[in-house]
């Protein structure tokens, strides 16, 4: 009996009992589908994070005010105001001419309702230094960004994010118009190119004013909430972090690193932490899917045992006309494998469809979500479904082959 004949026989059996075959296969279909979806959606989510990082640049170092525990976030992240970082720290850092530091930009943040004529919007406003575009990989769509001179002379100019400009002005040209932020009029000098939504914030919906203006006119503070530094090459990041830490400790008269009043973080570091988390989640979900595969396997074993019982006469006859135990074993094993393999294929197809659907929905919502079809996941799913067939088909197949032909022939 050749293998194609056996597969064909199995196919006939599946077709003959469509409903039962489908229910038998369901466990494996769901298990395989889950694995494919988890792998694909996991990769998609990861691509979202990586795209996010790429859009702000992976060779960035952030300096936040306040001391952080090892790997944890500094307290300023939770909204506690820490005033230990000043504009002058950034200036001094840049002026120290460390070769790997290409640009430094400083931030203060706030939010308020802005208005133009009768239109209003609640936005986050950022006070940033003039190097913002270089550090943030931003681009101007229309007009220009403010200069160092404007930054230092506290002029009231503003650059709008792409979405907020559209929201307030529609088709009209916003350049030269004045918007109100905290009762002060700011002249619009530029519009940023759209960057797309990120995980944490949407830059397209924010506005940018010179940092000194924001500090004195809008917020009345003299500290900064964030400093970002662009490093020439990613491999110089760790070296630069050490340099910055030493530099700031020196400036703030700190002897013991335990007393630091600032925290230095690299984007790469944050990315690694995120990756560890997504890996862990993915591993957990795959483990859950694997349990579904095992449960499905037992379901198939159960059905195959019932099938053997049902077809005892056939087994007896096959043995009587010359089938060896091996032939019977192979027949039932191939039948089980055909079922699990077919389940695997269906699971893969359904899994891929769901992955595509998730990607399409995510993309339509403006996320930078890549559709990742994991070929290794498909190969692994196929191998696993065949293996499940072998593992859970063996017991029924053995049972069938060991039947006594006489008893099997007489069984009623």
């Amino acid at each position: 009996m050749d293998i194609f004949e056996a597969i064909n026989n199995s196919w006939q059996m599946i077709i003959r009992n469509k409903m039962r075959s489908f229910l038998t296969m369901l466990g494996i279909i769901i298990g395989v589908m889950a694995v494919i979806v988890v792998m694909s959606v996991g990769s998609g989510a990861e691509s979202l994070i990586i795209n996010e990082v790429k859009s702000i640049g992976s060779n960035l170092i952030s300096i936040l005010p306040g001391k952080a525990e090892e790997d944890g976030p500094p307290s300023s992240v939770f909204g506690i105001v820490v005033t230990s970082l000043k504009y002058e720290d950034g200036e001094a850092l840049f002026n120290s001419n460390y070769p790997s530091i290409e640009a430094v930009t400083m931030y203060v943040k706030g939010n308020d309702r802005i208005s133009w004529e009768d239109k209003k919007a609640d936005v986050n406003f950022n006070g940033v230094s003039s190097e913002f575009l270089e550090v943030d990989n931003g681009e101007i769509e229309k007009g220009r960004f403010f200069t160092k001179e404007e930054e230092l002379s506290q002029v009231k100019v503003v650059v709008l994010g792409n979405k907020i400009a559209e929201k307030l002005f529609g088709d009209q040209d916003p350049l030269g118009e004045k918007i109100k932020i905290k009762n002060s009029n700011f002249t619009i000098i530029g519009i940023l190119k759209a960057k797309g939504g990120g995980l944490t914030q949407n830059q397209d919906e924010e506005v940018y004013v010179p940092i000194k203006t924001a500090q004195t006119i809008l917020l009345g503070i003299n500290h900064i909430s964030l400093m970002r530094i662009k490093v020439d090459k990613p491999e110089n990041i760790n070296k630069t972090i050490s340099y910055i830490e030493d530099f700031l400790r020196d400036r703030h008269n700190i002897d013991d690193p335990k007393d630091d009043d600032f925290t230095v973080r690299s984007v790469q570091e944050a990315l690694d932490a995120l990756k560890t988390v997504t890996m862990a989640i993915r591993f957990f979900l795959i483990a859950v899917s694997a349990i579904s595969l095992i449960v499905g396997g037992f379901g198939i074993m159960n059905i195959m045992l019932a099938t053997v019982e049902e077809r005892i006469n056939e087994i007896g006859l096959r043995k009587a006309v010359g089938a060896k135990n091996y032939h019977i074993t192979m027949q039932f094993l191939i039948e089980t494998i055909t079922i699990t393999f077919l389940s695997g294929i269906i699971g893969i197809i359904v899994g891929l469809l769901i992955s595509i659907l998730v990607a399409v929905i995510a993309q339509s919502m403006g996320f930078k979500w890549d559709l990742v079809i994991s070929v290794p996941a498909i190969i692994v799913a196929s191998i696993v479904s065949v293996s499940v067939g072998i593992i859970f088909g063996l017991v029924p197949a053995k049972k069938a082959s060991e039947l006594n032909p006489i008893e099997a022939l007489r069984y009623e």
Partner: protein, 239 residues
């Protein structure tokens, strides 16, 4: 001499209870013979047939087939003997009900090296021989009892067996279909096939040229049939 058994014994052991089914049976069967094994139920006639047809092994005694001692073959060797040396006709036909007549007949060849094309050619010619070439694509549940048994006979013939074992072949048939089946077996015997018929009906047994009568696991008698039944004698039934 095709078959020779000497002091064949068979006992079944279920836990501590031993049931002796054959208590020392000896006889020979020549090539081309038509022989009936008769006996009441529980006499051991079926067990004897199972041993002769390689479905079972004797507990003790010797079995020679074509001069070779086959008393102690392992399962695979027994399967090979069944595949190449014997054909079966059962009381309840034992056809695969959802498989076509053609594929039912081909089944024994599935476990041989014969090519697919050759299998089909062979099956078609044998089905013609039993008068069923117009039923190739039918499934057995659309056939009458007599037709089913003829399919079973075709299946028994497909591997050119040395012996055909027929276990109560007319037991589930009306008398007309039964007669047709016996006529077919008669013809096969005339063509030179060795036939071993197991039955408890004296009338059917008398189609054979020789009857071995078994009771309580022993041969009670082994004698030539004086007046053989032939299909001709009953030909008015066939009309």
């Amino acid at each position: 001499m095709l078959i020779s058994v000497k002091d064949l014994k068979k006992e079944f052991r279920v836990e501590d209870v031993v049931t002796k089914v054959l208590n020392g049976v000896s006889f020979d069967i020549e090539k081309g013979e038509f022989i009936s094994i008769m006996g009441p139920s529980g006499s051991g006639k079926s067990t004897l047939m199972y041993i002769l047809s390689f479905l079972d092994k004797p507990t003790s005694g010797e079995y020679f087939f074509d001069g070779k001692n086959v008393s102690h073959l392992d399962d695979d060797k027994l399967a090979e003997m069944r595949s190449s040396k014997v054909g079966f006709v059962f009381q309840s036909f034992n056809l695969l009900n959802r498989t076509s007549v053609l594929d039912n007949v081909i089944l024994p060849l599935v476990y041989t090296d014969i090519s697919k094309k050759e299998r089909i050619t062979k099956a078609k010619s044998i089905l013609e021989q039993v008068g069923l070439s117009h039923r190739l694509d039918y499934t057995p549940n659309r056939l009458s009892g007599g037709e089913k048994q003829r399919v079973a006979i075709a299946r028994a013939l497909i591997n050119n067996p040395e012996v055909i074992f027929a276990d109560e072949p007319t037991g589930n048939l009306d008398s007309k279909s039964g007669l047709q089946v016996m006529k077919l077996l008669e013809e096969l015997n005339n063509q030179g096939h060795t036939i071993v018929l197991v039955t408890h009906e004296k009338y059917t047994a008398e189609y054979a040229e020789r009857i071995i009568y078994i009771k309580d696991g022993l041969i009670l008698s082994d004698s030539k049939v004086q007046e053989r039944q032939t299909a001709k004698n009953n030909s008015e039934l066939l009309k």
